[in-house]
């Protein structure tokens, strides 16, 4: 009997996987060339990427930074590369970027919008990130009064007295609560504040200003422009539209027929018309709707209309969140004995708003992008300024560099907002 054994007695060493299945080649085979169709797609994709990049990259980086006019730019291009097309003239951005950011705001006062922007970041930080110091909330509280003062300037008494109106309302409510009951005290407090704002703030501010004139140099609205204007409109519309939108959504969901009808009518009307028609209303009609002789500036009118516009969209987003809550949540809140506002505040809204975060943020992004529409009614937002810069004989005929710069800045803002919404969704996710 031979000692030939047909059964292997020792283990073979493990073989390395085939080179086509691991590493870069394996990855490429799995992700790029897994079939003839995918291979064709990959090659088409590579061609498209090459086509785009071969045009954009030289244009972007082989460019002219130092020139004072488009013609000078072209001369430099001609001297350097022997052609004028295919190279960007970033000199226009270098010369005009300040204008694209601030419009015609007086240059010695640039610190004011910059400070307002920095304060804005401080003010929204505690709202956006739980890690931010809680003390920042004080900044959030005073920001609505400080921001207009910084931007428009004027006497400090105006914003102080407006803030005092809130305090008056608050203390009136506190003081009257034991005497006349909750509802009556609330109504009286609101009335007191409104009367204070409408009739007393103006004369009082004037009087105080003549006694002790503390203030900043006023800046008229006509000088506002550039990204400062876009951010101003965006922030005000975003800030005001969320509370108004929540109220509208609650009205639309309520059992009160008339309240519901008013809310539905408002929301559907605003959502049914384009923003540009509302801006026409702001620029031509709003003065007609108000008492004779009322004159207030175009930016304020635009702010009002954009806020109304954003509120209607916000209301629909919040309504979606309210509708998505299971009925048991409403019934549970009722069975705990909470009244309407308590159950909204403690049970319904926290969940509904959480569900609607993606919608809220995309409404914010939409509103911020829509601020460019004000250029159509003649305000100098970045797009309006681009036209103004082109009207200058030095830069007549320059398009792509300005558009690229504006698009880049908008992209930064909107993209970071959408990333933030994803972060917030992850943070608030309570499921496993």
């Amino acid at each position: 009997m031979s000692d030939t054994s047909f059964v292997r007695t020792e283990m073979l060493p493990q073989k390395a996987p085939p080179v086509t299945a691991v590493g870069a080649i394996g990855w490429a085979r799995a992700n790029l060339f897994s079939g003839w169709f995918n291979s064709v797609l990959t090659i088409l994709g590579l061609l498209a990427v090459y086509f785009v990049l071969s045009g954009v990259l030289p244009w972007m980086f082989l460019s002219v930074w130092h020139a004072s006019s488009l013609n000078e730019c072209r001369e430099i291009m001609e001297a350097t590369w022997g052609e004028t097309s295919g190279h960007a003239c970033w000199a226009v951005i270098k010369e005009r970027w300040v204008q694209l950011l601030f419009g015609f705001y007086p240059s010695e006062l640039y610190w004011r919008p910059v400070l307002a922007f920095v304060l804005l970041i401080v003010a929204v930080a505690p709202v956006l990130f739980p890690g931010a110091p809680r003390k920042f909330f004080y900044v959030t509280a005073v920001y609505p009064f400080v921001m207009p003062w910084l931007m428009w300037g004027g006497t400090i008494w105006g914003p102080l007295l407006v803030a005092a109106g809130l305090a008056i309302g608050f203390f009136a409510q506190r003081f009257l609560l034991p005497i006349v009951g909750s509802l009556a005290s609330l109504i009286i407090a609101v009335l007191a504040s409104v009367i204070w704002w409408l009739f007393l703030v103006g004369p009082l501010a004037g009087a105080l200003g003549s006694v002790l004139n503390i203030g900043l140099e006023p800046v008229i609205s006509r000088n506002f422009g550039g990204f400062m204007l876009s951010i101003l409109i965006g922030v005000v519309a975003i800030g005001c539209s969320l509370p108004i939108g929540i109220v509208l959504a609650l009205g639309r969901q309520s059992d009160l027929l008339i309240v519901k009808a008013i809310c539905v009518g408002f929301i559907e009307f605003i959502r049914g018309v384009p923003l540009i028609t509302l801006l026409f209303v702001a620029s031509t009609l709003l003065n007609i709707f108000l008492p004779p002789g009322t004159e207030f500036d175009i930016i304020l009118r635009v702010l009002i209309m954009v806020t109304l516009f954003a509120s209607a969209y916000m209301a629909e987003v919040v309504r979606g969140g309210l509708a998505a809550l299971p009925k048991g949540q409403y019934e549970g809140a009722d069975s705990l004995g909470l009244d309407y506002w308590q159950s909204q505040r403690l049970i319904i809204m926290p969940q509904a708003l959480k569900i609607s975060i993606p919608g809220i943020v995309s409404t914010f992004i939409g509103v911020f992008k829509d601020t460019t529409l004000v250029s159509i009614i003649g305000l100098l937002d970045p797009l309006g300024l681009a036209t103004a810069i082109r009207a200058d004989s030095d830069w007549n005929g320059i398009y792509w560099e300005l558009f690229a710069f504006i698009a880049f800045l908008f992209f930064i803002f909107c993209f970071s907002m959408s990333r933030y919404s994803m972060y917030l969704e992850r943070r608030l996710k309570t499921t496993h």
């Binding site: 790029l32 797609l41 990959t42 028609t277 004779p292 460019t372 159509i376 797009l383 558009f403 959408s418």
Partner: protein
């Protein structure tokens, strides 16, 4: 022994209007209604007083006055002697034209991008992500003016097509001319035409209906009816015998033959654009502003639609595909019978609101000089006549009507495909 006492007799007190939940809602509603009516009355009163001061009471008479401005892209006949109403009507048709073109293009691109973004191909998925993020995060107005700038700056002028050695040539076998003034494409012509039907005589809303087109539509409709009959017959045979008769060649024949016969009978041919003088003549002309608006709106909206489509497909759990496969369905049928009907339910409501957004965004045409309803009624007519109130309110009414009708039709469709729950 206990006696039943009557419940305490309720006397109505005024304070119950506030503190009794049975009456409180009535109180709140009355207050809201009164407040709303007071606000409306205040605004209307202010408006009337202001308009009286300005000396222009509300009056729609200006609509019958001659518009005396030209509309460079129009679907019907119009000249500057026509009335403002006719001009607004042209604008409305232009709005509907760009909205319809935009919705179709945005849907096609959007669905394609949405599906490709889910592709297993890494490179293609990344490219589509970049496309979606770029277009979604930059204002649509910027895309519109950018597209217009590209049209004007980088396309050849008509005179570059001229001469013995032209620097530009026409595309697609000399049938399409792409110039910086717009795009000229071949137009359908009938040498033995049946003529036009003039509707509404000489009024401002007059329009012509091509009898050729009506005939074609009737023939096509009849063909489709026959095809459905044929398919129903095939289904009946399949259910009875288990064998499905082949239907495709009959269907194809029924669809094509009558239409071709009618086209030949009417003498169908294409009219090609030709360079005459300083510009092209003949063919259908699509102005550069229309093309720019169309491109920008559809690419912008397509980015949103892509996300909706992607979300809709991702919302269908993998178990559905596997279960359908376990039933023995082929991949094509899995898609058309199981995945798509369910995904459509998720996709359609946001798709509707994106169509609405596109229609409303088409009002930005005013930025590139395309004469839509905003450019005519809300632009030149308003500036010429100085009737801001009438023009803006009518403009809003028109958009409101368009929006409500689109959402009405789409909601009806949505209700049809909606899941019927117990």
């Amino acid at each position: 022994m206990t006696t039943l006492t009557d419940p305490p007799k309720e006397t109505f007190r005024l304070s119950m209007l506030i503190y009794d939940t049975r009456y409180r809602s009535m109180t709140i509603q009355c207050v809201a209604l009164i407040g709303f009516m007071l606000l409306a009355a205040w605004i209307i009163n202010n408006t009337l007083v202001n308009l009286n001061t300005l000396g222009k009471p509300i009056d729609f008479g200006f609509f019958s006055e001659p518009a005396s401005y030209d509309i460079n892209q129009r679907l019907l006949d119009y000249n500057s002697r026509d009335s403002h109403l006719r001009a607004s009507f042209m604008g409305l048709l232009n709005t509907l034209l760009v909205a319809a073109l935009g919705c179709v293009a945005a849907t096609i691109v959007g669905v394609l991008v949405g599906v490709l973004r889910l592709s297993k191909n890494w490179l293609v998925a990344r490219i589509m992500t970049v496309y979606v993020e770029t277009f979604r995060n930059v204002p649509v107005l910027l895309w519109i003016v950018l597209a217009m700038a590209i049209m004007i700056e980088s396309l050849p002028a008509p005179n570059e097509f001229r001469g013995d050695t032209p620097t530009a040539t026409m595309n697609l076998f000399d049938s399409v001319a792409v110039t910086n003034r717009g795009i000229y494409i071949p137009e359908p012509l009938f040498s033995r035409s049946l003529g036009n039907l003039h509707v509404l005589g000489e009024s401002s809303l007059r329009f012509d209906v091509s009898l050729d087109l009506i005939l074609l539509l009737i023939v096509l409709g009849a063909s489709i009816f026959l095809i459905r009959r044929n398919t129903a017959r095939a289904n009946a045979i399949q259910e009875a015998t288990g064998v499905r008769p082949t239907t495709w060649y009959i269907n194809l024949g029924v669809l094509l033959v009558p239409t071709l016969v009618v086209l030949i009978a009417l003498g169908f041919h294409l009219g090609y654009p030709e360079l005459k003088g300083f510009n092209f003549r003949g063919g259908t002309y699509m102005r550069n502003s229309l093309i720019a608006l169309w491109l920008a709106l559809s690419l912008y909206t397509a980015a949103f639609i892509a996300e909706i489509v992607r979300g809709g497909i991702l919302a269908i759990s993998k178990g559905q595909t596997e279960a359908a496969g376990a039933l023995g369905l082929r991949p094509g049928r899995i898609m058309s019978l199981v995945i798509l009907p369910q995904a459509l339910r998720v996709i359609i409501p946001p798709l509707i609101s994106n169509y609405l957004n596109l229609t409303k965004n088409s009002s930005l045409a005013i930025a590139v000089g395309y004469m839509d309803i905003t450019g005519t009624l809300g632009g030149i007519t308003m500036n010429q006549t100085g009737r801001e109130l009438e023009c803006v309110l009518l403009l809003m009414l028109v958009y409101l009507t368009i929006s409500l009708s689109i959402s009405g039709v789409m909601n009806w469709y949505n209700n049809r495909v909606k899941l019927v729950e117990r």
